[in-house]
Amino acid sequence: MSLFTRVQDWLDERFHWAELIGPLKKKTVPIHKLSYWYFLGGITLFLFMIQVCTGILLLLYYRPGANEAFESVQYIMTRVQFGWLIRSIHSWAANLMILTAFAHMFSVVFLRSYRKPRELTWLSGMLLLFLAMGFGFSGYLLPWNTLAFFATKVGTEITGQVPLIGHSLMVFLRGGEEVTGATLTRFFGFHVAVLPLLTTLLVLIHLALVQYFGMSVTPGVEAHWNASPGEARQMKFFPNFLLREFMAWYIALGVLGALAAILPWELGTKADPFAPAPAGIRPEWYFMFMFQTLKKVPAKVWFLDGEVVGILVFGAAGLLWMLLPFFDQLGRGRGRRLIMGAGVFALSYIIAMTIYGYMAK
């Protein structure tokens, strides 16, 4: 009897292990032309786990506080053995995670996996996307360098423009009227405690829902397989699909390692709140499309302030996007075409505005 089987028997005697993992063993993944897109969710999860591990390692040496934050990151990069590796992986994986999260979200839109009964899966996923961007925004400030300081200043300033609650929201985020060491402490608290807790809960919910409903297929494939059931192809999750996922995850690890070693993440210069803002401040790339849009909106739209209009439009767009699944059944196929159109528009807009934001310096 192999060790593996002995452990399983031990667990089964106490926890009815076989019954627990039974449904998991039966889980299958549909195989069709677009099956590769199924990997994205797993990769995002994998990158999140990398973030948790490297984040905990960084926590062993990082010191939050305007006096010490920058120096502690510098310490990690120069004195701690392989500190440069852990820190660069953390920074690169953060960006890759947000990229895969966006890709995962758009693949769900175009493959129409958000449809009934998976509306809550979509909702939890959207919330996870917002949390990921929150992770990015809060984490970016932690090294307390010039770029991060001013990007946070600008970002929280924009939040302050939201009508009615904007100012209170800004003060809540900043821990005061201005961006100071108090902001750093607060962002640190968000980044290592609040956001991880919320994310873990939502990830568990999201995974449970995915597990419960199984993998969705596009309506086209669904129709085809309903017509000729013999053509339906499924792959076992254990071990076949999982092994493939591991391949993808390992490749992702290789990419991360290469990025960390060949293109290490910059340290920058220590933030000086009293120095004037350097030229060319901009947020991280995943906020660029919003930032560029707000820059281009005319100062006054009708009787309203241009920036406020921009923020309200993005807010409304975000809300509508979260409610996407509920538009799917509108009118015969009209809702579907609307969503597809909106998806194409949103993706093109984000890509175009991001590129524009970088070129327009």
């Binding site: 990069m77 440069w84 290490p264």
Partner: protein, 410 residues
């Protein structure tokens, strides 16, 4: 009754500190008789409570032409020849000046009499500078006021009004290119571009009231006030005695007096900027020493540049080199020190500093090389890790194929 007193009292304070009816008419006249209230109120004398009558005499309380009464001591326009003595009447009186500013000097007039301006003035020259030419009149401001003609930032401009005017200066046996030369100098840049008020302007070296060129044998005393080390070395060097006996001004021979540009190592060379070869014979002992010193400096400069470039490569590859960058400052200081030691004109002393500098440059180069080695170590480590990862990925690929092959057959 009380109200009337208040109104009268306030009326008195409104028209400056003391009544000055002269401005009522003279404010409305055309130049050269024009002196406006606005102009005079900015004058330090007016702010201290003096009136037109303090210098011109007359009665400032009377209206119209009654103010200009000879009986009240009216002098009319003050002639240029009368200006120094008139100003000196108050400004050389320590007891008088004490009531306004006890720490103000009161020797300006006596200093002036020792100056070139003063000496020519005593001979009756109407063209030389008198007090009002530099300080202004009627809107005279203290030297600390940036609008004052004698504020350090403005002094050179004020002197150049005469000294750069070739037609005005005809007849005096001095050049008129000083201002033009000075404007190309490092001192001018420090003052005008960087706003460094400690940088020298005309009066720093020439004096202000006792203005005269520093003597040929004492000019280095002027330079040495700031450039202490260079002077110390020069005093102990062979050049001091040589220049003194030849009647040559110390620092000026190599650095010039007004157009002092930023010195470069080319001064030690053999090209157009070279100074040594103006006197020395090619091939003699000194020429050889010069060559040695120059080559030492060049070597140090190159070593420093080399280390700088290697650190640059390491930095752009993502390595953290902030400590080494700090040490680069030290190496740069060593280079500066070696250049200062040139003034001893002893190649052994210069060589000592160069050797120290080379050690520092070597340390920085080593730091750069270490950074590059670390970079290569990381890339090698990455290479290994990627090979293992590839093994796993390929292994998984075949393993999956195996399993599925088996599953198909069952």
């Amino acid at each position: 009754m009380f109200l009337l007193l208040v109104v009268l009292a306030s009326a008195g304070t409104i028209s400056a500190q003391a009544q000055n009816t002269c401005l009522d008419c003279h404010g409305a006249l055309d130049p050269p008789l024009q002196v406006t209230e606005q102009q005079f109120s900015s004058d330090i004398h007016s702010q201290k409570g003096l009136t037109c009558a303090s210098c011109h005499g007359g009665d400032p309380t009377k209206a119209d032409m009654d103010a200009m009464s000879k009986a009240a001591g009216f002098r009319g326009k003050i002639q240029r020849s009368q200006v120094p003595e008139l100003c000196g009447r108050c400004h050389s009186d320590a007891t008088f000046m004490r009531q306004y500013n006890p720490s103000l000097r009161t020797d300006q007039l006596s200093q002036y009499k020792t100056s070139v301006h003063g000496k020519l003035f005593a001979k009756g020259d109407p063209k030389v500078a008198v007090c009002t030419d530099c300080h202004g009149v009627h809107d005279l401001r203290p030297a600390s006021d940036t609008r004052s003609k004698i504020h350090p930032l403005n002094v050179a401009q004020t002197c150049s009004r005469c000294h750069a005017d070739a037609s005005y200066m005809k007849g005096y046996a001095i050049p008129t290119d000083q201002f033009a030369q000075y404007s190309t100098s490092v001192h001018h840049d420090a003052l005008a571009l960087r706003g460094d008020l400690s940088a020298p302007t005309c009066t720093t070296c020439h004096g202000n009231h006792g203005a005269a060129p520093p003597g040929v044998d004492t000019v280095q005393n002027v330079c040495s006030k700031c450039h202490v080390f260079q002077d110390q070395m020069y005093q102990k060097s062979t050049h001091k005695a040589a220049f003194q006996s030849a009647g040559l001004p110390g620092c000026v021979v190599c650095h010039s007096n007004h157009g002092i540009t930023h010195p470069s190592d080319a001064k030690l060379g053999a090209g157009p900027q070279a100074v040594c070869m103006r006197c020395h014979t090619p091939g003699d002992r000194c020429d050889q020493a010069r060559v040695e010193m120059l080559s030492g400096l060049t070597r140090l400069d190159e070593a420093f540049e080399n280390a700088h470039n290697v650190l640059g490569v390491a930095e752009s590859s993502g390595m953290e080199v902030s400590q080494a960058r700090l040490d680069e400052d030290q190496a740069r200081d060593a280079l500066t020190k070696a250049r200062v030691t040139i003034h001893s004109f002893q190649k052994e002393l210069v060589n000592q500093d160069i050797q120290e500098g080379l050690k520092l440059a070597a340390k920085n180069l080593q730091a750069g090389k270490n950074a590059l080695a670390e970079r290569d170590y990381r890339r090698r480590g990455l290479g290994f890790a990627l090979v293992f990862i590839l093994m796993v990925v390929v292994g998984l690929f075949f393993y999956i194929r195996q399993i599925e092959h088996r599953e198909q057959k069952t």
